[in-house]
């Protein structure tokens, strides 16, 4: 059902984005001394986006009408392994970024690397031997990157607890 209307939904979202952009452009203050003001270009872009969105929506609705009874039974119930892995990965990245400053680069990177490798590896790569490899690799990589960037490229990375 949803799949059939995918293009139409995408078109609708583009229109929404266009409306949002236009609304946001209305709040841009402008200095009256300029002939062409700062809100001119955003509004133009919003209008362009709106027109394109309408084209997508129209096209998507027509396609949905034609596709009618085809391609049924493709939808799977529940969440696939991939989707779950993706959501965990995204959450993990967010937590990692969040921890960078309070905990510091070294520690949070080490922990992130080990967990992320475990999450991405499939069952056959989660034996004891592999986990040991993950831990050693994570240690070497996080320390290596830290030293390379702070000592060679003079980039300040958050030092956190260890600093």
């Amino acid at each position: 059902m949803l799949r059939k209307y995918k293009d139409a939904i995408v078109g609708g979202l583009v229109i929404l984005a266009a409306v949002g952009l236009f609304a946001a452009s209305l709040t841009i203050q402008s200095l009256s001394l300029n002939l062409i003001k700062a809100d001119f270009f955003p509004k133009m872009d919003a209008i362009l986006l709106g027109i394109l969105g309408i084209a997508l929506l129209w096209d998507g609705l027509r396609k949905a009408g034609q596709a009618s009874e085809e391609s049924k039974g493709e939808e799977k119930s529940g969440m696939s392994q991939g989707t779950r892995c993706m959501i965990i990965t995204l959450a993990l990245i967010a937590v990692y970024i969040f921890c960078l400053e309070p905990i510091g680069f070294l520690l949070s990177t080490f922990v992130y690397l080990v967990i992320q490798m475990l999450v991405l590896a499939d069952e056959s790569h989660r034996k004891k031997k592999d986990i040991l490899l993950f831990v050693i690799l994570s240690l070497v990589v996080s320390a290596g990157i830290y030293l390379l960037f702070t000592r060679v490229f003079y980039l300040m990375l958050p030092s956190g607890l260890l600093g």
Partner: protein, 504 residues
């Protein structure tokens, strides 16, 4: 001309630059050869390292990455039948079958050698036409720059994906991201929604890393559980694996593919990712024995690898002469130059001649390194392919975080990377191509500034945009390109429908 090139070599012939070029090529080949990592990503991740370097040294590193990265794609294409980068999609068609017949050494040898020749021809054209083109571009005013900017975005939008409308949406989204922050000319804050961290707008680097690296990681996580391909490890490489007679038989193919590669490269926005497939198709159509294509003949490898590497020189032409990137990698090179306060464009040739010719020289040196390293180290690169994704991607992720953090030493840019990664993933899922977003983002300020300045100069009249011949020409070509692309799309759909109705 010769003395200028000599100056260029003098600029880069010091231990630091040579080492950076060599390191760049090596890293580029590794990134290029691993599917999912691309030349674009390699350049994005190394860009922060160039902050502390001299401009020419920084460019030497980035150009090494570019040339190594585009060529490196052939390793996975031949040994794994998965293109290492989009630029080597067509290399799979004949490269893998040839390798599967037990002639992997020959396939690799041909690919490496013609990568080298392709790059060389592209660079020759670059050095030959860029200076004269730059002197023409010197006469451009606001109107011309506006028209060229619009032309570039619509060109990419209509050529790169199946759907013109979706391509244009991507471009418009890129423009919208570019608007965040202080407006050009009057500096009025726009679309910051009260976040002061957004006052200066999004930095190019987080946008690039997010779009091209994080989205890959999200995709890889989603694809967990799908088996990885098997790498052919057992091969010998002797000489370049082909005879002089075979070389002679490829000369027409070589020059045709190089011409396609250079032409596509020069067109703004599209590069090796498009040219390799076009050259392959052209070689097949012109061949007396088209039925042999796909069975593992060297013609296919020659066409694809010559064209994608020739696109490098081509893509550098608009970058150097107009400041308009020819593909996604040159978009980042543009960022690399701007970090050092250098604005690519016709003035660069006047004000920074030695740097310009230094860039040319760095490309030539990188090309030689590419040939040597790929030839001598091919066994190593084949091994690199077996490194599992679940180890590689987390490390890449950490490098993304470091790179984004390095831009301004603040976490905000790291969050921006994650944001753009998610946006990119969703857009790709919706069928929107990513490269036009980058072009829109980069050219947005150019287009807007020149539009507003132009309108101010003409006191609000849009007439000059159509009365200046060069500007008019670009706007007309833009219209033609869009109309043709829409027509092609409509026609393809109609024939699709007829087919369907015929079946039912």
């Amino acid at each position: 001309m010769l003395s200028l090139i000599a100056t260029g070599f003098a600029e880069v012939c010091n231990p630091l630059c040579i080492a950076l070029i060599a390191g760049g090529v090596l890293l580029g080949i590794i990134f290029g050869s691993i599917p999912g990592l691309s030349a674009t990503m390699a350049v994005a991740l190394c860009l922060p390292m160039t902050y502390g370097l001299e401009p020419i040294a920084g460019m030497a590193l980035l150009l090494g990455l570019y040339i190594g990265g585009i060529s490196g794609g052939l390793v996975a294409a031949i040994l794994l039948r998965i293109p290492g980068t989009p630029a080597s999609v067509a290399t799979c068609f004949d490269g893998y079958p040839l390798a599967a017949k037990g002639q992997a050494g020959k396939a690799l040898g041909v690919g490496i050698f013609f990568s080298f020749i392709g790059t060389l021809l592209g660079l020759a054209v670059l050095m030959f036409i860029a200076p004269s083109l730059a002197s023409v571009a010197l006469k451009f005013s606001y109107y011309e720059y506006f028209a060229v900017g619009v032309f570039s975005i619509s060109m990419m939008a209509s050529l790169i994906s199946g759907s013109v409308v979706k391509g244009l949406v991507s471009g418009a989204i890129g423009l919208a991201f570019a608007m965040v922050g202080a407006a050009p000319i009057d500096g009025i804050p726009r679309l910051t929604f009260g976040f002061h961290a957004l006052d200066a707008g999004f930095d190019i680097l987080p946008v690039l890393i997010g779009l091209f690296a994080i989205s890959e990681i999200i995709k890889a996580a989603k694809e967990k559980g799908k088996p990885q391909g098997k790498v052919l490890q057992d091969f010998k490489i002797k000489g370049f694996g082909f005879s002089f007679a075979e070389f002679k038989s490829q000369i027409v193919n070589l020059f045709r593919s190089a011409a396609i590669g250079i032409g596509i490269g020069i067109l703004p926005g599209i590069g090796g990712g498009t040219s390799n497939i076009l050259a392959y198709t052209a070689a097949k159509n012109q061949s007396k024995t088209p039925e042999k294509f796909g069975t593992g003949i060297i013609d296919g490898i020659v066409a694809s690898e010559t064209a994608n590497n020739a696109s490098i020189g081509g893509a550098l032409v608009p970058l150097m002469t107009l400041g308009i990137p020819g593909d996604t990698v040159t978009a980042m090179l543009l960022g690399g130059l701007m970090i050092h306060g250098l604005n690519p464009g016709p003035l660069l040739f006047q004000n920074n001649g030695p740097l310009v010719y230094g860039i040319f020289a760095a490309c030539l040196i990188a090309n030689v390194f590419m040939l040597l390293m790929e030839y001598l180290g091919i066994k190593v690169f084949a091994r690199v392919l077996t490194v599992p994704k679940h180890i590689l991607l987390p490390i890449i992720m950490v490098l993304c975080v470091v790179g984004a953090f390095g831009v301004n030493n603040r976490l905000f840019d790291v969050w921006a990377v994650l944001f753009f990664g998610i946006v990119a993933y969703l857009l790709e899922k919706g069928g929107f191509p990513l490269p036009p977003i980058i072009l829109g983002f980069i050219l947005g300020p150019t287009i807007e500034t020149n539009l507003r300045r132009g309108l101010m100069q003409s006191e609000g009249s849009i007439a000059p945009f159509f009365t200046h011949p060069i500007s008019l020409a670009f706007l007309i070509i833009t219209m033609i390109v869009i109309v043709l692309a829409v027509r092609k799309e409509l026609r393809a759909r109609r024939s699709n429908r007829v087919e369907k109705e015929g079946k039912s």
